[in-house]
């Protein structure tokens, strides 16, 4: 087999007949809750570096399975009692920067159509990688995140404030922005893309191009591309009551 688990010694290895093979596959699909084999796009021609979302989710998987046998072990904070975690990578990115008038912003649109029914969002994060900025030395930056609630043709879009993080221009880090507040809307309108807009300002309020501040977008290496990760818990009423 592959590099993974080895069958325990003494475990009899039988050659499965065709019908047994189908039975075992059916059992595996039902026990693991796998929805069946997706139609993945053509396999990559050569070996590809793993992308950021699968790398992050594999860490979560190890944290989650590490707790499988210890029911009372403290799960990693974000996992909490989540029994489903999804990362969204299908994204369209728009820049409102590079010389145009202020404020500069970067916008990301995620396709949320794959969210399963009957799941309640417990937490949602937008993760973007930041490299040290070579343009802004020793400056403190405020990174704020908004949800694009409604686009307007003749004026600025309707925005909903989600989160604000402060960091140094020289920091190199995965920046995690809490977008849980946006989850009510996307469950009601999952046919609409989730629009997230990101602004960067210096301490004295000047708008900065997010790219110049070191925030990487879709053109980053695969292992550092931005993504949204959402934690769900099965609930009879998937919509959180508005506060």
């Amino acid at each position: 087999g592959g590099p993974g688990l080895r069958p325990p010694p003494g475990c009899p290895q039988r050659c499965l007949g065709a019908s047994e093979r189908r039975d075992v596959q059916r059992e595996i699909l039902s026990v693991l809750g796998l929805p069946g084999r997706p139609r993945l796009r053509a396999a990559p021609s050569g070996p590809r570096l793993p992308a950021s979302a699968p790398l992050f989710m594999l860490d979560l998987y190890h944290a989650m399975t590490g707790d499988d046998d210890k029911d009372d072990a403290p799960a990693e904070r974000r996992l909490g009692r989540a029994d489903l975690v999804m990362s969204f990578v299908n994204m369209v990115e728009r820049d409102h920067a590079l010389g145009q008038q202020e404020p500069h912003w970067k916008e990301f649109r995620f396709d949320l159509t794959q969210i399963p029914d009957g799941e309640a969002v417990t937490a949602a994060e937008f993760r973007i990688y930041k490299v040290p900025s070579i343009h802004l030395l020793n400056r403190t930056l405020h990174v704020s995140m908004f949800q694009v609630v409604q686009e307007q043709s003749n004026r600025e879009s309707d925005l909903l404030f989600l989160d604000l993080q402060t960091l140094q221009a020289g920091d190199e880090v995965w920046l995690v922005l809490d977008v849980t507040a946006a989850s009510d809307r996307w469950l009601l309108k999952r046919h609409k893309d989730l629009g997230l807009r990101l602004y960067v300002e210096t301490e004295d309020g000047h708008s900065v191009d997010p790219g110049l501040a070191g925030l990487l977008g879709q053109r980053a290496p695969r292992s550092r591309q931005p993504f949204v990760v959402t934690f769900f818990r099965a609930s009879p009423s998937p919509i959180r009551t508005p506060r």
Binding site: G2, I28, V31, L58, L60
Partner: protein, 139 residues
């Protein structure tokens, strides 16, 4: 004439067999009337063998269980190890002479997690609680 002592019947209890109890001299491993008690076996299925690794990121494989012996509810695609053990134990309690003792009564159920791609290349981590029998009576 001396009356033979009547052998006292063991008191019937409703407890599931203890996990760490191995067959002892009072346990008839071959069941009554020489039949063989059900015994669970593990068959490891590698997802690489199934060609699933471009879809399922983790785990690498799955331990499917099957059993040999006289089972009223044999393991199969519609009967996983947990249900098999519970049903077998209940029926054995009701008809100890007719149905052999279950070898794998659940003492500890654990979660099963799986990490995989969906149709849009999103990555999904799903956890099913109380799913898999990890400890059973015959180990």
């Amino acid at each position: 004439a001396v009356r033979p002592l009547r052998r006292r019947q063991p008191k019937k209890t409703n407890e599931l067999p203890q996990a760490n109890r191995l067959p002892g001299i009072f346990d008839d491993v071959h069941g009554s009337h020489g039949r063989q008690v059900c015994r669970r076996h593990e068959l490891y299925v590698s997802f690489q063998d199934l060609g699933w690794l471009d879809w399922v990121i983790a785990p690498q494989g799955y331990s499917a269980y099957y059993c040999e012996g006289e089972c009223s509810f044999p393991l199969g695609s519609c009967m996983n190890a947990t249900n098999h053990a519970i049903l077998q134990s209940l029926v054995h309690l009701m008809k100890p002479d007719a149905v052999p003792k279950a070898c794998c009564a659940p003492t500890k159920l654990s979660a099963t997690s799986v990490l995989y791609y969906d149709n849009s290349n999103n990555v999904i981590l799903r956890k099913h609680r109380n799913m898999v029998v990890k400890a059973c009576g015959c180990h």
